[in-house]
Amino acid sequence: MSTQFLPRIAAGDASAVAACLDEYGGTIWGLAERYLRGFGDDLEDAVQEVFVEVWRHAGRFDPNQGSEAAFIATIAHRRLIDRQRRAQTRRAVHFEDDGILESRAQTGNTAELNDDVRKASEAFQKLDADEKQVLWFALYHGLSHERIAKTVNIPLGTVKTRLRRGLMRLRELLNADFAPTKARPRVEGAAR
């Protein structure tokens, strides 16, 4: 994943579009399947919305701020959650921990990942089980805080507390390698 497609797409390089789709298409399609499961939403429409926003805002990608994969995943997370909120109904879906509480890494072959992605995945495994659980439901399955509270059967306030504490602890674990010191451009929709 060392190759970066977004700067080329921002410059109008049409050949990078197909390469970008090949690189991230399956990832975003799988993410959309998980996030929109039970909502009856149109997966193709959702995935197209994600990629069009990625391509249009490709010029805002800053390699110093994070990896291209993280940039695309962040946009996908926000767009898919927005679509969840717009969906009118949701069928009952049963969510599992998917083995997240096991000690082994959930990222497959970590050697192929970007350094920040790999480090984040490894740091995640060092969190407490309850922190990992709520982060997993929020980011992997795209569940709302209320939905997590019902699924895990804990109060909503506890969900928020665990999410905040988990993210802050992740920052601390990645402190040496993660945060750049210079000012960063804002990601679209990050702080409204």
């Binding site: 990629f51 249009r56 984040a120 980011l139 993210l167 409204r192």
Partner: protein, 407 residues
């Protein structure tokens, strides 16, 4: 967590919380407004290591997690979807290319500054201007105004901070209320589920009872039908038995009647024979039939013993009478009495059963109501049922005049 001078720790914590919340789920409009206010007041929030805490750094962190997990759980995008997405991407790339070209054109077409403009910049920066007291006074006044403004701004920020704190407390209370409400909802849901289970159980038992009742009702109906049939059969049997009994009674009565008649016939015939054999002073006269239709072909005789005041009428060929309409009545004309008023000698009926089966004779005992001294004649008339006291002699059937005694 490090904060800028004048920033409360609580507000900084709240800002960090909202940024973390935003990274995992959409914020409510209220939270977004609060986040904007806090970002405006604390644009440079840092953690304990001096690293900036902002939406971008947290988003990059969550994005890395999502990207890492998702890379291990990819799904095959359908080929036709990929083709349509590719076309859309090519359109976007072309738009990007046009946009990039336009930016380059604007940059290239920007004219270089003129000498006057450069001079003006220099003037505004004050690089080569001579010292001026009026300018200094003006600057001092401006500084004073600026200090006042800064003081007011700080005061305003503190008020705003207090308002944010108050809102934060309200948010916390609201959150606690929401949690309690959720817990109450959970209990209500459990109670509702219990009630629903009880209701279903009651319905099931009700259905079972209804089914058993229906089965009983059906059995009852079948038993009623069977009972009705048995009752009908029994009623028919009883009716038949009653009819048979009535028939038997009738037959018995008929037999008894016939027996009585036979006995009477036998007795009367025996008595007559005995009277004839043992008493030579009997009078025996043959009947003479009259010309009325009932007398046609009638024969027989009358035997009378004056000493014994006993006698018998014997008929052959006398028609049977209907007792409801008329009866035969015997009369004795006594010489010592008025011939207009013969002595009643009894009422009798002639039926088929009263005849002697062997001879066809019919024997009737004479039953005189008065003492007969010297009978002149015997007669039989047809009269109204029960007989009459005085006959009008209009329907005389047979006569038997007694011949005067030879001297």
């Amino acid at each position: 967590m490090n904060t800028a001078p004048g920033t409360s720790t609580a507000m900084a914590n709240r800002l960090a919380e909202l940024l973390a919340d935003q990274a995992t789920a959409p914020l409510t409009p209220t939270e977004l407004s609060e986040l904007d206010t806090l970002l405006h007041m604390h644009p440079q929030l840092q953690d304990s290591s001096g690293r900036p805490i902002d939406a971008e750094s947290i988003a990059a962190l969550t994005g890395s997690l999502i990207a890492g997990w998702s890379s291990a759980k990819t799904a095959a995008m359908p080929g036709d979807v990929r083709a349509r997405l590719l076309n859309r991407g090519l359109d976007v790339a072309r738009e990007n290319a046009r946009e990039a070209s336009r930016h380059r054109t604007i940059s290239i077409s920007q004219p270089p500054p003129t000498a006057n403009q450069v001079s003006d910049r220099v003037v505004r920066t004050g690089g080569s201007r001579p010292f001026s007291w009026p300018l200094l006074l003006t600057a001092a006044a401006a500084c004073a105004a600026l200090c006042t403004s800064v003081f007011m701004l700080v005061s305003s920020q503190r008020s705003q901070a207090e308002a944010v704190m108050a809102r934060q407390q309200l948010e916390t209370q609201q959150q606690e209320s929401t949690d309690r409400l959720a817990a109450a909802d959970g209990r209500i849901s459990t109670f509702s589920a219990t009630l629903e289970a009880q209701r279903q159980d009651a319905n099931a038992r009700l259905a079972l009872a209804a089914e058993q009742f229906a089965a009983l009702d059906q059995s009852n109906t079948e038993l009623s039908a069977i009972l009705q049939g048995e009752r009908s059969t029994a009623a028919k049997a009883v009716a038949q038995a009653t009819a048979d009994l009535a028939s038997a009674d009738s037959e018995i009565e008929s037999l008894q009647t016939r027996l009585a008649v036979s006995e009477r016939k036998l007795t009367a015939a025996e008595d007559r024979i005995s009277l004839l054999q043992q008493n030579p002073d009997n009078v025996q006269i043959a009947w003479t039939a009259t010309d009325i239709p009932e007398a046609k072909g009638v024969t027989g005789d009358v035997v009378w013993n004056a000493r014994l005041q006993q006698g018998y009428l014997r008929f052959k060929g006398l028609s049977a009478n209907d007792p409801g309409k008329e009866q035969y009545q015997a009369w004795i004309f006594d010489e010592g009495r008025d011939p207009k008023f013969p002595v009643d000698a009894g009422v009798f009926d002639i039926t088929l059963a009263s005849k002697d089966e062997a001879t066809g004779d019919l024997i009737i005992p004479i039953d005189p109501k008065l003492l007969i001294k010297n009978p002149a004649a015997f007669a039989v008339t047809l009269e109204t049922p029960g007989g009459v006291v005085v006959t009008d002699k209009k329907r005389v059937v047979v006569l038997a005049p007694v011949a005067p005694p030879t001297r």
